[in-house]
Symmetry: C2
Subunit: 155 residues, 2 copies
DNA sequence: TATTGTTATACTCTATAACTATA
DNA sequence: TATAGTTATAGAGTATAACAATA
């Protein structure tokens, strides 16, 4: 009978309270949009977002150990341990017990891991270029600087 | 024996590859810092972050239904249904079946829910003011605008 | 038939605690 | 005793699918 839907109202009819004026809210929206796309990218090369991040850090820091990765990732060591085990099983990384201090295991990318990491990196750079299209010259640097300062507000 | 720790190296010794130059990476760092603090805030009034968000939207849109909330939240309706049930149990919201179309339940804050929402909002505004301290005049508006445009890159 | 909302179930990611191995 | 790393277990948050109620 009615020509147009009565409910649910479109987003434009919704009262967002002050939400849209909050940095917290906008940062969540943006990060969530980026992350959804990022997940599609890492999925396409058979990695989770966290795994891509781990492969990148291990690739750039050969011989890094788990304690150091934990401090970079805000993860518990038990959580990281599971992720590491999984990456080993899939032959993406390998670990060798250090001779100087046998408590540490030095982590390295395998050839396969290195290849996957490079594949994913190329796709992620593409994502960055898509974001650049929304920005004017110089605005990328401004955004990075502002985000860095926001992070520092919670140190 | 050694005077200084050998491992793990401090963050300053870590090679971050290109990570620090990515908007995706910086946005994740910033959002994650904000969110950790946000969780502490909502915890302190007995809410989860998602519950605070739901209470805010219901408070600003009395009579809103679950389909509409789902479209705003990027959640499955089954997930939202559980959250709504929980908020009802704790007497923070109430729902009334609509007379015009009995498939819908109109949602409202209870007095208690409204009070909690206001408490949390005051604390969240405090968080925004702490972020402002890292920014110069005008930079908040710039940041909000840039974040909005980044979100639009993935529409 | 289509839509709103619920429930059973399972999956993913995470942390806590107890553990082993090395120092 | 202290630190690196593993494992068992549990909790939070999520989605899928089957369902009931209403239109």
């Amino acid at each position: 009978m009615a020509a147009k839907k009565q409910t649910p109202p479109g987003k434009e009819l919704i009262n967002f309270a002050r939400l849209q004026d909050y940095i917290g809210y906008r940062a969540r929206q943006a990060q969530s949009a980026i992350f959804r796309d990022f997940t599609t990218i890492t999925d396409s090369v058979g990695l989770s977002p966290g795994e891509f991040s781990l492969l990148t850090l291990i690739g750039a820091n050969p011989g890094i150990n788990q304690v150091t990765l934990v401090s970079l990732h805000n993860l518990d060591k038990s959580t990281l341990s599971l992720a590491i085990r999984d990456l080993k099983r899939r032959n993406l990384i390998e670990s060798r017990r250090q001779t100087e201090d046998g408590r540490y295991f030095a982590l390295y990318l395998t050839k396969l891991g290195s290849q996957r990491q490079r594949q994913a990196t190329a796709l992620v750079e593409g994502q960055e270029r898509r974001m650049d299209k929304m920005l004017k010259p110089g605005e990328r640097e401004i955004l990075l600087d502002l985000l860095k300062r926001i992070s520092k507000a919670f140190d």
